[in-house]
Amino acid sequence: MKSVELLRVENLSKTYPTGFFGSRKVEALKGVTFALDEEPSVLGVVGESGSGKSTLAKIILALIKPSAGRVYYKGKEVFSLKRAEIATYRKEVQPVFQDPYSIYNPFYRVDRFLELPLKSLMGIHSKEEREALVVEALNSVGLRPNDVLGRYPHQLSGGERQRIMLARIILLKPRLLIADEPVSMLDVSLTAIFLTKILQLKRLQHMSTIFITHDLSVAHYVCDRLIVLRQGLIVEEGPADSVVRAPQHPYTKALVESMPIADPRKGWKHQEGNA
């Protein structure tokens, strides 16, 4: 018997009204279909700005409704889940965004941001137990608990905020992570830590990830499979390594050609007559 797919996105479309009183329409997604197996994996969604990447993330997170098409999580249609099932969905499918600042409540300390979901989503009622888990998670992302606990989001640096997001993921153990440009504001060293953790969670906690990025070298490193999105359509998909090394679609070729290679002896400067 075939096991149930973790996620299936079927013929997803999204149209935004724009212009004077919504007189014109912008199609952000035009019938996107893909699936994630039960087996933990990292699926990359790459494309330029305006390709529909973020719209896709928001629909999967059930933050906005699609204009057409369906999203199935473990075989069930996400937008017709029952109340109790929605709570489970919210627990099992977690987001990370580019700038974590926007999702922190500015009036609450970091402690609450980490502990509250442990209570409400994970049902851990002992305060000592929660605190111990928080400390352990912070240590594992290279933060000293004393430096961050008791502080407000605005008192932290961007890197610290993104590390706390990562600590939160470690605490909540989601089944599926939707990461929308999670590393594009981070320094290389922190990016490396972030990517390493995602791979670790895949291996140890069976977490799957949809990794949305415009950075092909990051996608190539962390992803098993890649989907290339252009103007709301999938133009190419396949194993990450073959998409990057042997792109088929002209658009993917253009993206790969634009990748800066971390080798000063290869690349743009030595090409003649580049446009």
């Binding site: 330029e48 700005s49 290279g142 933060l143 430096d147 640096s157 961007g158 890197g159 610290e160 594009s184 320094d187 290389v188 060293s189 922190l190 990016t191 490396a192 830590i193 972030f194 990517l195 390493t196 415009h214 950075d215 092909l216 070298s217 990051v218 190539h220 490193y221 962390v222 390594d241 990057v244 090394r245 253009a254 993206l255 050609e257 634009s258 990748m259 800066p260 290679i261 971390a262 080798d263 000063p264 002896r265 690349g267 743009w268 400067k269 580049n274 446009a275």
Partner: protein, 320 residues
Amino acid sequence: MIDVGLLEVRDLAVCYKSLWGVYKVLDGVSLNVGKGEIVGIAGESGSGKSTLAEGVLRLIRPPGYIPKGKVIFEGVDLLMLGEQELQQIRWKKLAYIPQGSMNSLNPVLKIGDQMTDVMMDHGIKDKREMRDHIVERLRRVGLSESVLSRYPHELSGGMRQRVVIVMATLLDPTLIIADEPTTALDIVSQKQVITQIIDLNREMGTSVMLISHDLSIHAQASDRLVIMYAGKIVEFDRITKIFERPSHPYTSLLLESVPRLEKREIKGIPGLAPSPLNWPSGCRFHTRCPIADEYCANVEPELRMKSEDHEAGVACHKAG
């Protein structure tokens, strides 16, 4: 060496006063930019890259101040000039492309008007001549004349950034200081912008100080690379040497953090970057350094030359 260089920064420091004390954001930085050279500045956020640019351009505003240092540009110390003399040098000889500058275009003026304004401010009056010049520059980077009649919001981020660079270089400056010019751009626009900078350097001989946290960008564009950590320079060298034989442990760790196609495992740098309010004693990297010992924790290493021609230097007790 015979080449006196175009820009010589000597022991430049920038401090910020705050309620909690004095932040030494930039703490004694020396470097040269030669004629026709692209010098890259790399480092993590908070290392002082942008402050270095602002210090060189003397754009530090209170509560910030420059306690010491020299910025010698074409033989003149910019820190000694009056505001008006400095104004003459900016744009004309020294162009600055600050971080996020693509969002700094005036939203209610057409691109063409903004460009002619720049030229009129610096004494070019002939309208015909001005337009020909602008159109020629736009063509060179593959932009059509039609952008002149557009408003900034009608252009994509990548196009706006290219327009900003064209605008900054209309008066043929000898040095461009570009601070993270491709951050927030997708990779296709990123390549166009970097290629535009490389072409300016190659065709017009313009020197460039290119600030970016992205080492791959430096691999593609920079001739020499300066690595900053905690307000100081820890290493500088030719770009090929930095990538092939880094001397400072911090440089090595940074390079190991870059994802490459060979898919070997990447490592992050453990710990957090220190705060400018109290930099660590001794070598500022010792708190995160895998090979630091007690000596490193107590004695600050000097930035010493790796070779006799002063092309390369490193500040580490352990570097051979």
